[in-house]
Point group: C2
Chain length 207, copies 2
């Protein structure tokens, strides 16, 4: 156990080491960096973290992080409100928005089912999704969860929950990345890309 010359420093390191992916060595480097910053800057940083945690709002509809009751996507009348894309968190919303290829709305689960980390169906925003479904305005749900065991588990759980509704249920395509060589693609992805082959004409149309 490392001994620190100052309790204040030790406490700051302990706290910073709680951030994801930050070990004690990196936390110490961060703390020493903060000590070189002007005190006002450190106050701004600390207060920005606290204010964000206390004041942030989740969109009433899609559970996306928002500054209003309805996020800018759900409030946009030009978007297709019958098409819902289910994602793990806000980073996925930002990534899909960046593609410029999607004009529907979202539903942010805020996590995926992971028995290893003690996250069950009750810990993610499933009930709010079902409430939205019951209004009968949604005709297609796209599952856009990660290709992991947790993602597959959550996909299957949602499939069971949504099967009673009169909707089209789809999942985003898995396959070889644009620009990738076949010989460097892993077997599972390559195998699935052959099983899930797409009619060539539909690719031609997109171009």
């Amino acid at each position: 156990m490392q001994t620190y010359p100052s309790k204040l420093l030790e406490q700051a390191v302990n706290e910073l080491a709680k951030l994801p992916g930050i070990g004690r060595k990196t936390a110490l480097r961060m703390a020493l960096h903060l000590l070189k910053c002007p005190p006002a800057e450190v106050e701004t940083m600390g207060h920005a973290m606290i204010k964000m945690r206390n004041d942030i709002i989740y969109c009433h509809e899609c559970r996306n992080i928002s500054d209003q009751e309805l996020c800018s996507i759900c409030a946009n009348p030009k978007r297709d409100h019958s098409l819902v894309c289910v994602v793990e968190d806000i980073r996925d919303v930002m990534a899909i928005e960046n593609t410029g290829q999607y004009n529907g709305i979202y539903h942010v689960l805020g996590g995926i089912i992971s028995p290893m980390e003690g996250i069950g169906p009750q810990d993610i925003n499933v009930d709010t999704l079902l409430l939205r479904m019951e209004k009968g305005m949604i005709s297609e749900v796209i599952l856009a969860l990660p290709t992991t065991i947790e993602g597959d588990t959550t996909n299957f759980f949602l499939y069971r929950k949504l099967t009673g509704f009169n909707i089209t249920l789809s999942a985003i395509a898995r396959g070889i990345s644009i620009g990738d060589e076949l010989e460097h693609t892993d077997e599972v992805t390559l195998g699935r890309s052959i099983l899930n082959r797409t009619p060539y004409e539909s690719i031609l149309i997109r171009k």
Copy 2:
């Protein structure tokens, strides 16, 4: 430029991205992690950072981070107060203390001379070192700075400043790490390890 769905989130990400080695993607991951933590935990973290920056004290003698005016090393009468080891920052003090091989005291520069980063001699704790020297209690100074251009520049600057005092000036040994193979050592290190070879008897005595 990435657009965030919330100003509060964007501000927190901007602030977290100011930490060393943290890009905007990692900062976003950290912010989303904070949103899942209980608000009290985020408050504790924010306040620990602010409190450390505002309340920390530097040892009156060696400029090490401390909770008292005199750090625990400088206040220890069992340590050799005639032997001073000059280091860049507190991490080096902690690393040397961990070896259990050093019984002298320290002087923490709080940085090294780096024209590239705009850090000059006036930005590091040189004046306080010279004040300590003038008291005439110090008989040996060990330079323990990094083996970089900046470290070498600072070493030479200190050599020029300390040359008027009646002391032994030494630098920590450079050479092959314990357990390293010769064939995997870089040429410069290997070359210097031959130039600075140590009498074999002195190694025998240490074992």
